[in-house]
């Protein structure tokens, strides 16, 4: 029993090794590898279930000879909360990878992808159940480095190289912040083990601030909170799609889990922690979706939506922190439950979206939204999967996205109704912001779904696209079903959430959250579906009764010969909304020079490069480089100068230190 999760970790870690077989046995090899990984994932899921019902059953505590280290494994409800989606999505992605990235299509790197995939999953699981800083950091870095190798899979392309370097550098920045965080924690508590609520008694104010800032830096970087998201779009866009699914669905949540764990140490955190998280959440949410609106690259767009959803999660977590500072358990329960449930939901529907996007890329060979179109007829299953994902990610009923956002909303309205200023400010800013985020998400996903799957194909390659095989549609179906299940019967997950929230804030009651109203919500969803079915049935009946003509062109207001190129493009669709946010997004427009009555043929090209990366960080690097280069004048190879430095050192030290 207690070795369930360690076994799962070992299996997943080694699964890829089975794939390292000579080319002619490659298929068997990768089947075996994926089989092992799925087996490990099954064990892990079982383990996470155990974690919910009997947390102590998973506890392992062995000595470890490294300084400050202990093999302290803990599978409490919080860990399980993150372990469950990890293993589910990982298994789905692995199966999908069998026909998305097989050795026969990618002889050079498919084995590597499978190997690093397993290692990444193992690292994720390790860090989730680790209760000692050293063990945690080992898992953390296994995850980070495995993911780095995965991002760099197609490193012959310059874009991929750039993305993987940015990813590597920023993940290291995060890891170093965590070094600082744990070191400071050790200085305060005298131990590298995570024992809840041990800190604040001994911590000074500066130490508290330092701890939170370091945690926010380290975990926020991984989570992709604005403005720490710089690595995220490139990495998600350039990794193989099932890897993007794992990264966006699970990996970035490790930042969230870290923040949840770190804040759990402090029973009464300073108020500004929650405020800061709420602020980051709102900014990430709004700007994330605004960036997504302006993207031309299907996967980059989805990546920015990860930033948005992390923002929503941060909003919920921040609300919970504010509630904890003010001693308002209702806010704590609703905010945390909403955040944690959104972790699940985003894991499911974002993985679903990336897998179906991957299917599109696999079938058409392009990620360029404005080059696609009309795929709904050619890849119906993929289209349906993407539709489900879109509705879910927009937080629309009757799917799961709405449930978690509902919980966050209820918390925010609760806060808005409270007398003290921090609380009602949180609510008054958070709720409309969340509404705006939702509406923008609708705009964005209508755009994507419409332009990619509806209308007419915009290029020949797209015209002859075909549906992908079962190994790819199967995982999508599983994820979609999970979305629908949580959406239609949210009351089922409430006990789990309550358990997790209780682990985070023991002062909370064992069952938190409006279970009753969630049951009503299921009823309302049922009513919605019923009405929809009635209306659909009536329409179908009428259509049968009266003749329906199908083979006519779209009525284009009298224009005789419409062509696919005349369809509304994604860029134009989003232009107005992007314009509203131009002050923050700085969109780039390259418009042709039109002169004379009969101007030359020209093309308009708009793009939305990332402001933080493109206008802040890269210029900073570009600035520092030459400065340091000037420093090099000190070592221009003259041995006399070298000896002079020694003389100066001697004199300075002798005069300085006696």
């Amino acid at each position: 029993m207690r070795w369930l999760i360690p076994c799962a970790i070992a299996l997943t870690a080694l699964s890829g090794v089975a794939g390292l077989v000579p080319a002619r046995r490659a298929r068997q090899g990768e089947l075996l590898a994926v089989g092992l990984l799925v087996l490990g994932a099954a064990l892990g899921l079982a383990g996470s279930v155990v974690g919910f019902v009997a947390p102590d059953a998973l506890r392992i505590d062995l000595p470890w000879s490294l300084p400050g280290a202990r093999l302290l494994v803990r599978g409490d409800a919080l860990s399980s909360m993150f372990l469950a989606p990890l293993f589910f999505v990982a298994a789905a992605g692995a199966v999908y990878g069998l026909s998305y990235w097989p050795v026969r299509e990618h002889p050079r790197d498919a084995r590597g992808v499978r190997l690093y995939y397993g290692i990444t999953v193992a690292g994720l699981a390790t860090l989730l159940c680790a209760a000692n800083a050293v063990l945690f950091l080992v898992g953390w870095e296994l995850m980070a480095l495995g993911a780095f190798m995965l991002v760099g899979t197609e490193h012959e392309r310059a874009e991929v190289r750039g993305a993987s370097l940015v990813y590597l550098v920023s993940t290291r920045a995060g890891t170093l912040c965590l070094f600082g965080f744990f070191a400071l924690l050790y200085a305060v508590t005298g131990s590298l083990d995570f024992d809840l609520g041990a800190v604040p008694g001994r911590a000074s104010a500066t130490e508290l601030h330092g701890l939170f800032i370091l945690a926010l830096g380290g975990f926020g970087l991984k989570a992709g909170l604005m403005p720490l998201h710089v690595w995220l779009p490139g990495a998600h866009a350039n990794a193989p799609s099932h890897v993007s699914a794992l990264m966006s669905g699970v990996l970035i949540k490790m930042g969230v889990s870290g923040l949840v764990r770190a804040t759990a140490f402090f029973p009464s955190p300073p108020l500004w922690w929650g405020a800061a998280l709420v602020g980051c959440g709102i900014v990430s949410g709004i700007l994330g979706v605004a960036y997504a609106l302006g993207q031309h690259d299907l996967k980059r767009l989805l990546a920015y939506h990860s930033v948005e959803n992390i923002g929503i999660i941060a909003l919920g977590l921040g609300l919970a922190l504010v509630g904890r500072s003010l001693g308002a358990p209702a806010l704590v329960g609703l905010g945390l439950a909403g955040a944690l449930l959104h972790v699940w939901n985003h894991g499911l529907f974002k993985a679903l979206l990336f897998l179906s996007a991957g299917a599109v890329v696999h079938a058409t060979g392009t990620r360029e939204i404005d080059a696609l179109g009309g795929l709904g007829k050619r890849m119906p299953k993929t289209a349906l999967a993407f539709l489900v994902g879109s509705v879910a990610i927009c937080g629309l009923p009757p799917l799961n996205g709405f449930v978690s956002e509902l919980l966050v909303y209820l918390g925010l309205f609760e806060a808005a109704a409270s007398p003290d200023a921090p609380a009602w400010l949180t609510g008054a800013l958070g709720a409309p912001a969340l509404a705006l985020i939702g509406a923008l998400a609708v705009a964005c996903f209508v755009k994507v779904y419409g332009v990619v799957f509806l209308g007419e194909p915009r290029s020949a390659k797209v015209d002859e696209a075909h549906e992908v095989d079962k190994l790819m549609t199967g995982p999508m179906a599983a994820l979609g079903a999970a979305c629908a299940l949580i959406g239609l019967a949210p009351a089922l997950v409430m006990p789990v959430l309550a358990r997790a929230a209780h682990t985070w804030a023991p002062e909370l009651a064992e069952e938190v959250g409006p279970v009753a109203s969630l049951a009503w919500l299921s009823l309302a969803n049922g009513l919605l579906l019923g009405l929809g079915l009635v209306a659909a049935a009536w329409l179908a009946w009428r259509a049968r009764a009266a003749a329906t003509v199908r083979d006519v062109p779209t009525w284009d207001c009298g224009y005789a010969a419409p062509t696919p190129r005349m369809q509304y493009t994604a860029s134009s669709f989003a232009a107005t909304l992007v314009g509203f946010f131009a002050f923050a997004l700085r969109p780039a427009r390259f418009r042709p020079e039109l002169v004379g009555p009969f101007p030359q043929r020209g093309t308009l090209f708009t793009s939305l490069p990332d402001v933080v990366l493109g206008r802040l960080i890269l210029p900073a690097f570009a600035l520092i480089g030459p400065l340091l280069a000037r420093l090099r004048k000190l070592t221009q190879g003259s041995v006399h100068a070298y000896l002079l430095y020694m003389l100066v050192a001697v004199v300075a030290a002798l005069l300085g230190w006696r």
Partner: protein, 213 residues
């Protein structure tokens, strides 16, 4: 501590200034040789009691510092047809000034260090420091490899003076160690200078600047 020591040390200091001021390679080498011989004599007179190690060290110093190395360097000049002028990176007058300042500074610095009763009022420590400083000056301001070697020689002379202060206290092995090591050091440098001439056609170390970022 015999009365002869301090005058000798004064002469050593004067030779330092001469080394800084001279414009001729050969003169510099001769100066270094003279300094070596002086140090040998100094080793004999530094302590009242004359022990075997004193004689050994003195002999070693005179033979190596006073004769062998200067001869080696002189031959190098002849074989390598080195131009006779020292080409300093800073003018001779400035280097003289800096040398004088350095000597003064080392006197001051030494005065801040408490002396053992045996050496009260002696110039051993300041002389050593000043000579080391002079060696450093020669190393950092002289273009030719040969003159840099001379600088290294002078630097070692400074150490030697410091060592004399502890001659009776220091085990024999270390003294021999210095001389041996000095010998090997100069020897290897000589070899390199040879190669250098072959590789670059000159021993002007200012040209050795291809290794850089």
């Amino acid at each position: 501590m015999s009365a002869l020591a301090s005058p000798l040390l004064v002469v050593v200091l004067l030779i330092n200034l001469f080394l800084l001021g001279t414009s001729r390679v050969r003169a510099a080498i001769t100066g270094a040789a003279a300094q070596g011989v002086l140090l040998g004599v100094l080793a004999l007179v530094i302590d009242d009691a004359l022990s075997g190690s004193h004689i050994a060290v003195a002999a070693g110093a005179i033979v190596l510092k006073g004769i062998a190395f200067p001869a080696l360097l002189a031959r190098a000049i002849r074989d390598l047809a080195v131009r006779r002028e020292i080409e300093p990176l800073i003018g001779l007058v400035p280097s003289l000034l800096i040398g004088a300042i350095g000597t003064a500074a080392s006197l001051l610095f030494a005065s801040s260090l408490p002396l053992a009763p045996a050496h009260e009022g002696s110039l051993v420590v300041p002389g050593a420091l000043a000579t080391v400083f002079t060696g450093f000056m020669l190393l950092t301001t002289r273009r030719k490899a040969i003159t840099q070697v001379v600088g290294y020689l002078v630097l070692e002379n400074g150490l030697f003076i410091m060592g004399l202060g502890l001659l009776e206290a220091m085990p024999f092995l270390v003294e021999v160690g210095i001389l041996l090591d000095l010998f090997v050091g100069i020897f290897v440098m000589g070899i390199i200078i040879n190669h250098m001439r072959r590789e670059f056609g000159s021993i002007d170390t200012e040209r050795l600047t291809s290794l850089r970022e």
